[in-house]
Amino acid sequence: MAGYETVEHDVLVIGAGGAGLRAAIAAAAEGVSVGLVCKSLLGKAHTVMAEGGAAAAMGNVDDRDSWKVHFADTMRGGQYLNNWRMAELHAQEAPDRVRELEAWGALFDRTPDGRILQRNFGGHRYPRLAHVGDRTGLEMIRTLQDHGIHQGIDVHMEVTVLTLLRDGDRVTGAFGYDRERGRFRLFRAGAVVLATGGIGRAYKITSNSWEYTGDGHALAYHAGAALMDMEFVQFHPTGMVWPPSVRGILVTEGVRGEGGVLINSEGRRFMFDDIPENYRGQTADDAEEGWRYTQGDKDARRPPELLTRDHVARCIVREVREGRGSPHGGVYLDIAWIAQKLPDAKAHIRKKLPSMYHQFKQLAEIDITSEPMEVGPTTHYMMGGIRVDGDTQMSTVPGLFAAGECAAGLHGANRLGGNSLSDLLVFGKRAGESAARFARENRASTVDEAALEAAAREALAPFDRGTEGEGAYQVQHDLQEMMQDLVGIVRREDEMERALEGLAALNERAARVGVTGNREYNPGWHTALDLPNLLTVSEAITRSALDRKESRGGHFRDDFPEKDAAFSTFNTVIRKGEGGRMELGREPIPPLPPHLAQIVEENR
């Protein structure tokens, strides 16, 4: 077969965003050897784009906050489909994980008395997001990267993993190729942590970077692991909508946290028109109270713009559908209005939201300190993913762990802003530690040469078809268009049935894709190899969304627009069945233990 190079680690971490870096650091601290695979260069991962902050109940700005309130907020936001054990651990451990970052030198904005400053965000009762201006993700990645640099972690940059290796039921490594030379690399390992992020590139309009092709989801699925909650895709309410080239680029929720308001074409602040029952008691009565909340008045309740993302996104879609949208199919997000309230509002906006200021200035020629932005929903985050044990982050396959966005459970049906950065710190650490323990007891094993041979042959097949095959980009673009149209923010049975037929056709086209050129750094080839992953996650999303005949969190059905209690008792689970067919099941959610039920009750 084609030659390959072999490397061996106790723990192999696939993905070098926040979760992967944190897992690698944790595993290395346990004294085992660690390999870290990045699809791009180290430090460029999607986490770098996170703007708002990391949610942690430190109580630095409002001392009424506690892990219990954070837990209750997370469960409410997730519509109680969350893995409650994960929500509990996350709320309890996030403050220590943020302080640990600080101890490793991370920069944070500070309170006047020098503590870590925390800001308001949607669905969080108290100001909870530790942040650095609007570049928190960049600082987090850099701190983890810097800290990991001198820990002896072996970094494999610009390497893509094609398949996981198995020995019986257990995962014992991975097989992939380096992009620079296009040569195969075998990773033998005692345990593997998947930290590959999300799936946003299955959609046309997305805030996600090109790497987000559902690799970890698909790798785990083919290795026999269960996926869960795949119907729950988060459409962030505020992406840029104009000009077309930047459609989908994120406009941070921090704009609304600083007092930004959503306005329709009639000049109406429409978010006041529809406030869900379970948030009514926490939402401001009028604009004045909402403004006071954003300025730190502890007696005020939050403005409706800071309701959960699923709800805000749907309200925007409603305004646009009913003809009250902005010229380019969005609504207006206005932060400039705060000039009525603050003496030096322009400077204040530039200081609090510098990246947003520059983004609009450079790409849309909009000065956000004096004009409103046009915004609309953009595919942002995957709540669903690899089903894991809440304490250890091990998947349903021994030796295979998952953390961060590619794992499921913490966020349930909808993620709160700020909970992803804390997620990847808390569960990255746990996954790395568990994987290290597992690897100490389970060594890498013999390699099935036939499986490698098959994987290599399959990977190189597009070269054999050459110019006779269709280009990979055409198939990818058609998939993105179709998922956007048929399995997007508003879903219907007939459309999703059509999507399943479309996916079958796209699978056939993907199997006939051809690439030209050489194996050295060939992006057409890389895209051809991303396609099967995108198709696998798209099918999982569509099948799960068809099965959930209700509307809940990020999943909205036009044909079943209400929440249905019958669907509140289980998670949708996807597995690879006999003959390679995708099988769907429902796993009952274990009841909340009394101590957690009490917390939920106390925070109603």
Binding site: L41, V48, G105, G114, G137, I149, S209, Y473, G517, E520
Partner: protein, 235 residues
């Protein structure tokens, strides 16, 4: 929509002995970015065209390249600002792997040489260390770096001598040297006092002009020089 000609420096290590320029005609909107135009070439004309890009938001720093001779991020430059004839070339000073992709390892090695990680062996307090708003502000600017290499590869001192540690590494040292919580400023200053360190900087300001994050790099380098001369970063 209008037609533009993109003149791209291509290099295929399997086939070319030296880089060659190829021209592509692409239909663009004035508000398209250079990155969109490169994508259009790759998607519809030549799937082997190679360049790095990740976030496409100007935050990851993957797509720095020479656009009409100036180091820019392709995801932050609009087509209407570059004219109908655009030349795109890889960053200068590093080995070209393929097309617009250069070998970044020497750049990362420079970065690693300045101890770019927080050093303080004292036990951290139970909660976070305190840091005043003013002390935090002191090194805010240099924490914005995205390691895109636009500064280092625009520096004539680096072109003349590739052993020069380069502006990006100095920027990343600056963020620790001027952080009141860090305890290894002296060590870093000594590293930068080397003959390949800050003194190779001739205050040409190319780096400051090239920085897509608008970091005042030359000023930061000046502060490091001063700290070396006066023996302290805290004065």
């Amino acid at each position: 929509m209008s037609m533009v000609t993109l003149r791209i420096q291509r290099f295929n290590p399997e086939a070319d002995a030296a880089p060659v320029y190829r021209e592509y005609t692409v239909e663009v909107d004035p508000t398209d970015r250079v990155l969109d135009t490169l994508n259009a070439v790759k998607w519809y004309q030549d799937g082997t065209l190679t360049y790095r890009r990740s976030c496409a938001h100007g935050v990851c720093g993957s797509d720095a390249m020479r656009i009409n001779g100036v180091n820019r991020l392709a995801c932050k430059v609009l087509m209407r600002d570059v004219g109908a004839q655009v030349t795109v070339e890889p960053l200068m000073g590093f080995r070209v792997i393929k097309d617009l992709v250069v070998d970044m390892e020497p750049f990362f090695a420079q970065f690693r040489s300045v101890l770019p990680f927080f050093i303080n062996d004292a036990r951290p307090p139970e909660r976070e260390r305190l840091q005043s708003v003013e002390d935090r502000e002191r090194f805010d600017d240099t924490t914005k770096c995205i390691l895109c290499a636009a500064c280092t590869t625009s520096c004539p001192s680096f072109w003349a001598n590739e052993d020069f540690v380069g502006p990006a590494a100095i920027v990343n040292a600056h963020r620790f040297i001027f952080d009141t919580r860090d305890a290894a400023a002296a060590e870093r200053l000594e590293i930068l006092n080397d003959r390949e360190g800050v003194w190779r900087c001739r205050t040409i300001f190319n780096c400051t002009e090239a920085c897509p994050r608008e970091i005042k790099i030359t000023k930061a380098i000046g502060e490091v020089k001063k700290a070396i001369l006066y023996g302290t970063a805290r004065a």
